[in-house]
Amino acid sequence: MRTLLILLRTEFISLVNSLNRKGKTPFIIAAIGLAILGLFMIGMFAIIGGSTTYLLVEKDLAEYAIFISLSLSMIIALMFGVINSTRDARSSDTGMLLAMPIPKASIVISKLLGMYLLDVLCAMVMLVPSFLIVCTVGGASSALFFRGIAIGFLIPALPLFISLLISAMISFLRRATKFGQVATIILTMGTLLLYMVVVPNISSYAEELNITTAESITKMKQILPFYWITEAIYSGDLVCVLLTLLITVIPLILAVYIHTRGLNGTDFHVDNSKKARNYKGSSFKKAVLSMELRRYFSSTNYIMNTLFGTILLIAAVAYIAYKGVGDISFLESIEVDGETVDLLSKFNGLTWAAIWAAMINFFASVTYTTPSSVSIEGKRIWLNKSLPIPTKIILFSKLMVSVLIFQPVSIIACIVLSIVSNAGIVPCLLLIVLTSLFHLLCSFVGLIFGLIFARLDWTNEAEVIKKGMAIILTMVINMILAILSGIGLIIAVIITRDAVTYGVFAGEIVLIAGLCAGAYAIITHYGVRKYETLNG
């Protein structure tokens, strides 16, 4: 117990110190920043949980409301757990701790407690407003509230167990197969999409839901473990309370056991010595580009922070292709001079192309790899710099990676959307040219800021992938560019005159092409010089 307390204290001190890494940010500012972020998250989850519960309680579905809040808290905890599990399970201090006379279980508990407390916080933020509303508006007894709080402390054990299982699976896949990285990315993106689809839409689901109490129980019974927990909270049924204990405490013990076993350093050694060596070469430029692509696809962190726009674009295009443009009603009618105008009936293929361009440009403005592509080289920059590779080729291979992660999907999206909206060949070509140029410009902006604010002395790549001036400025500038481009396109949509729409397309294409040419000149002159002065 004593060692566990020492470890917990050390973890806490480490967390506090991490707020003020390198002593550059005053501690109080870092703490306030973190507190604001925390309050925002808490407020957001509380509002979602509370409003959903209120809507369901009003429909006399109090028990179902608890079930939904419970499910939401599980999804959120699972999302945090999966994101956490993509990191290496063995933190850098594990070896040092294992060499000390500390029980392995203490090490594991000290490491898991942080995750558990975060999950408890998420669960409580979602559940407490829900319990309060069920008790006050729904007229349930206060015993439900206290039972809910007590069981609320147990609930995070379930997603924690699942995320630890996922962590162990990812760890195995990474070491034993070459598909580990792909599996990690698919899993993480899938969980994030699940979160993005379920959480923001839960209130409208509750609003539109029209079922009886009996039907709600049938629905709940489809996910039995959640039903048991809901029953344990709602009615205090002893069997359900016992079952809740069984499905939360046992996995928690299993989680500690799995992690303790993991600390023994079980390694999945793969014998590659018999595997044939591949001596196949490729061209000079292709070799540089493949290296950049390999570097990109080798980092889950890098992919997760840069590929989301592409994933969202795929989801959006799939949705539109499935629904058809007739069902998209956001521009069905607007008021002009007090009169309602049915815009949708005036739309033709060209108008739709303008709408698609605004949409794709928005996704393009958040999908690029270039701001961190220079910094990510870190101490390995000696390799590119000592080899006879022209700096221009190095920089353009970085640009190409950014182009390749978005533009092939974007071009397919343009074609699919043009077909869905009967846009015709010319609007489709305009759409492809405009969106491609816009994304190229976003990537150029990122590369310029990436060079200006290059930082090669990082110890963890997340420092340059997630944070830094290059990332922030690129995001802000590209958003502004997307908004400006969007304003022009939306004006063309509202006016619904082909000549105006063609004019906006042509104007934007010329303007963006000009900006790209300017950015190219900056890269080939200033950028090359700047890269050559960088030292890892």
Binding site: V270, N272, S273, K275, R277, N278, Y279, K280, G281, S282, S283, F284, K286, A287, V288, S290, M291, R294, R295, S298, S299, G378, K379, R380, W382, L383, K385, S386, L387, P388, I389, P390, E532, T533, N535, G536
Partner: protein
Amino acid sequence: MLKIENLTKTYPGGKVGVDDLTLEVKAGEIYGFIGHNGAGKTTTIKAIAGLHQFEKGTITIDGISIKDDPIAAKSIIAYIPDNPELYDNLSGMQYLNFVADIFRVSKKDRKAKIESLAAQLEILDALNNQIASYSHGMKQKLAIIGAFIHDPKLLIMDEPFVGLDPKAAFTVKNMMREFCSKGSAIFFSTHVLEVAEKLCDKIAIIKSGKLIAAGTMEEVKGNASLEEVFLEITEEAN
């Protein structure tokens, strides 16, 4: 093969890394570069390899200026850093193929070279493994194979023996001798004075960015040991 004339490198903030350094490495020579920590060895080596820009002086490799025509100069050199940070998520084979692609080494030549060098350094069986799983010594061996793969005219090595096991260090020394016997040259830094004494044809001693002694081994140390001479010269320079 390597000609450094009046090289001066000042870091931002005013610290002088190398001060008016002049030396020449001829074809077939193994040239040792020794000095205290922070004396300017790595700065000089990085300037030769084209990693550091410098404000004064010239560096030419086989008559090609690293400043004026860096690509041509880099095409005939190979550089091995003191701490070979390689791409952890590549396999050793992928890394070597990348280097061979950059130097346009044919499939036949790269196969012969890689198999021979990797067998000598005993990492042939590990080439398909990820670099992340390599020890420091294995990474060093991989960087050495990558450096020899295109038959450079000049090999620049910064502390090449750090992390190598005794057998590998012996093999690398033999490879260095064989390499120079074919007319190429090596310029390398080391803290292991015994190695420098046994391996080098010429030696240069640097202190606080200034060259304080240079010449053949006999010219620099006479009948004394290199260690005694090094300590004496560097003390005198104070």
